[in-house]
Amino acid sequence: MSHKVVIPIGPYHPLQEEPEFFRLFVEGETVVDIDINIGYNHRGIEKICESKHFDQVAFVVERICGICSTSHPFAYVNAVEDLAKIEVPERALYIRTIIGEMERIHSHLLWLGLAGHFIGYNTVWMWAWRYREPILDCFEMISGNRNHYAMMKVGGVRRDILDQHIPDLKKTLDQISRATDMFKGAVMDDPVIHARLKGIGVLTRQQAIEWSVVGPTARASGLNIDVRRDDPYAAYDRVDWNVIVREEGDIFAKTVVRILEMYESIRIIRQCLNKMPKGEIDADVKDIPAGEGIGRAEAPRGEVFHYVRSDGTNRPIRHKVRAPSYMNIASNKIACVGGTISDATITLAAVDPCYCCTERVAVIERPTNKKVLNGWDLIKLSQEKTERLRKNYG
């Protein structure tokens, strides 16, 4: 009989931005149960928002996430505009769309890099992050910041995209498009990646519905949902693009969904740059009336949900925020159990939570409490599995 071993993953690691704590219960190589603990990063933002006026809240919620920093203010302005029935100028809608899609590209590249690292494809890691840089440079060109762009504002956007920026932006898109071709080839044509990711960490369609998951995690399990199309906001209903759906529900499907979504993002930005009309970028918003509003935005990880209630003063009296990972991380309970420890890192990473802690993993043998493996060992385990497969495939 093998020992039942607990593997604590997390909660803190200085390199990662979002602490979570997973406890994997394993028997031999197999994960038999998982306990998920979150809340290490709870900052009371919903309460803080009640003491800020409507313009300030956009800055506060931008600080919720460091990767997809624009999706929270995006959903928030949608909510306030829904509440107060504000008409946003056409040009601002296009600019919002461009910013949202640029963010999707850089976030998916970041994920691709980390996923590559976890399964021992460090070249993918380096290359993916190398191509993330030009996107961040474009953000800096437009907004002055590589992250936390502060573009969203109730009633419009804070900064215009200037005509002289557009050629550079188009050039970067061409570059990213070629890079995406390369990544697509590297993932789709590599038998080792197929062996490593196919049939691993499966979330079936039914389970995806049960757990109400969102974003690429849902779309890889055959759920054809995307807020950008279903509940159109900004300029998504004015451009032509596709929702990428895969049926398999495994990690390979999640990877494919994300890579193909980058093409769609590039398509959306190109159309927006061509169709964007001249004009105002900001509706002059005066007072926010009493009432309630719901705003949604499709972040790289899925639907971001904001609910705002106003009593007619200049501050919200209630502001509810739900990030996509809130729904997705919980589903790890299904995806991880029954798999092996060497697949656990990539399975937990496949829903694209911010990777936190995966490097601070320690395997502790229960009776003696002796540490037998640490985080690097676990990543090594995962990488060694890829090596073995690589040798088998010659």
Binding site: G39, W211, D231, G293, K333
Partner: protein
């Protein structure tokens, strides 16, 4: 038949106030005794996706808004229910319908102190372990 007619037909007189902020944002209220039935109809029978729930401390009592999304039409249906008893607030847990309700009920429980009857694992989700018992950060004074 549209999804709204379908909801009205199945829940009939269980529905209190019905309010359409715009065609894609619908709010209606139910009595707190009927919340389980309402959620079951929306989530299981009609296949709406559960987005999240908002708990609010209002002068009339604790209000919970359960937000459901109908992704085929992009409509957001929010079910409002009021718990008038502020001293011992409790309501039926919906976690028995689907695990999707589990986390948000834990969150509302620790933030507002509303007890969810029948929740399989009602423990803290976000607050620190050393947060004092009986202090609920989202309650108004």
């Amino acid at each position: 038949m549209s999804i709204l007619d379908e909801i009205k037909q199945r829940l009939k007189d269980k529905i209190g106030d019905w309010y359409e902020h715009n065609p894609r944002r619908i709010y209606f209220s139910v009595d707190k005794k009927e919340i389980k039935e309402a959620a079951r109809v929306l989530f299981k029978d009609l296949g709406l996706r559960f987005a999240t729930a908002t708990g609010t401390d209002t002068p009339q009592g604790f209000e919970i808004l359960y937000h459901f999304s109908f992704d085929k039409t992009g409509q957001m249906v929010s079910v409002r229910t009021l718990i008038e008893d502020k001293h011992n607030p409790q309501i039926d847990s919906l976690a028995v319908i689907s695990p999707a309700f589990e986390w948000i009920e834990r969150e509302i429980w620790e933030m507002l102190g509303i007890k969810f009857i029948g929740h399989p694992n009602l423990k803290r989700l976000l607050l620190a372990d050393d947060w004092p018992e009986g202090k609920y950060p989202l309650r108004q004074r």
